[in-house]
Amino acid sequence: MIEFRSVTKRFTQDAVAVNDFSLVLPSRKITVLVGSSGSGKTTLLRMINRMVDPTSGSIEIDGVDVATLEPVKLRRSIGYVMQNSGLLPHRKVVDNVATVPLLRGVPRKQARLDALELLDTVGLSRTLADRYPSQLSGGQQQRVGVARGLAVNPNILLMDEPFGAVDPIVRAELQQELLRLQQELDKTVVFVTHDIDEAFLLGDQVVILRTGGLVAQIGSPTEILANPVDEFVSSFVGADRGKRSLHLENHGGDDLVVDSEGRLAGVLSTGTKAGTRSGPGAAAQGGVRQ
């Protein structure tokens, strides 16, 4: 469990990135911090592994204040995946995955063997092991980034807009892959994004932030979509523009799902049941929207 206790971060006297933020991130769940730029979401994420230290307040991991832990050691125990993969361009894929184990003193041979297994885990062919990151596609690089994040088998995985720079099709693939991995691995995932659809798809708990690190709403995707607390949230999730208000139209015998702006959101397939894991989130995703 990760707990933020009235955390404030000021970069300068006037620039408040995060203001009196409190939140419990339950273990083995995906918590998504979502907000536009300037909402302090990345700052919050980086405070967990002490890349940023709070001006006041505290962050605890399983009851231990991270401020009492040595930053480098702490970071080596937490998986970290960032946008554009953040891979080391001068190291082969296998060595990139083995980076943190090597830093922790795992023998080279063992670290490389483990890294090859991790490539399997994230769905990459072992034939890519000896390539350099620049020789991979964006999606492949991102998978390597995830493999590296998992390399020390951390309890916590921090993901900072990890799928932000890949095209929508690859992004959808990576999102499903993450959900599959999470079912297998049961990590405490903190995921930062500015994409509300991504947040609803992945998040067990979604935190919507507004500028200055203020919490607009916390809840499950269902709760937020059904009961947005205010106009900011409605507009952020797209409810105000009718994007989330769907109705059926019958065209030539097929039931089509259409939003109130008249945009096709999808086809009603026979036997669709509510209450699957991605229930309202997936419905909102539609598929035609982008």
């Binding site: 480098v72 050691k73 702490l74 970071r75 970290y80 554009n84 350099y132 020789q135």
Partner: protein, 227 residues
């Protein structure tokens, strides 16, 4: 031409002398520039001070330096050590800025993610920043190598034997072939050292070979070489 055939041994000896005079300054200037450049890159204040004063080094004219050095260092006036020290100073003057620029050129995202996964700042410097600055460092080192080889010829003027001795001797005795031999041998030596550096770079930085997307050009202006 007959002069060259009958003096092959002499040319070879002077080439070896020249090599012994040029290689240590190239290596030393790199080793000295590394911490200075890193420091210059680290803090805004140190950047101005270090780059400013190191730039002044290059403004010192070489002949007065050869006269002053023995007095400061305590070497004898004709010691090859004077030349090696002077060439090292010039090399440092070029190389410090290259090191600072090279380290600054390392992608910020890569540095941040390195810090994020748990590199200490020491291991990040050696394992991430330095290798990634490698192509820029290599470009700078090539300029230093070539300029050092050409500068080393001035040793002849202060009585330190080098390929430059072939020009001075050729002038005094009116042997044109000797002058030409000196010039050609100097150029060849510079090219050989440059080639060795390029080869070394390929061996040490295999990732730069495979990604053709990144083309790195030398950051030192050609004007610096003509000095």
């Amino acid at each position: 031409m007959t002069w060259i055939w009958s003096n092959g041994d002499l040319i070879w000896d002077r080439t070896l002398d020249h090599l012994v005079l040029s290689v240590p300054p190239i290596l030393l200037s790199f080793l000295l520039a590394l911490p200075l450049g890193a420091l210059a890159n680290r803090y805004r204040a140190s950047r101005g001070v270090i780059l400013g004063s190191v730039g002044l080094l290059y403004a010192i004219p070489s002949l007065p330096l050869f006269i002053v050095l023995p007095v400061i260092v305590g070497t004898s006036a004709r010691s090859p050590l004077n030349l090696i020290i002077a060439l090292t100073l010039y090399g440092v003057a070029l190389m410090v800025r290259v090191v600072a620029d090279g380290l600054a050129s390392v992608d910020r995202d890569v540095r941040q993610s390195a810090a994020g996964v748990g590199f200490s700042s020491w291991s990040e410097f050696w394992q991430v920043e330095l290798p990634l600055a490698g192509p820029v460092l290599l470009a700078g080192l090539r300029v230093v190598a070539v300029s050092t080889v050409s500068l080393a010829t001035v040793g002849a003027v202060i009585g330190v034997q080098s390929l430059g001795s072939l020009f001075t001797d050729g002038f005094q005795r009116g042997i044109q072939a000797e002058i030409i031999a000196g010039i050609v041998a100097t150029v060849v030596l510079a090219l050989v050292l440059d080639g060795v550096l390029v080869l070394l770079g390929r061996l040490l930085m295999p990732w730069t070979r495979k990604s053709s997307s990144r083309v790195l050009l030398p950051v030192v202006t050609p004007a610096a070489v003509t000095r």
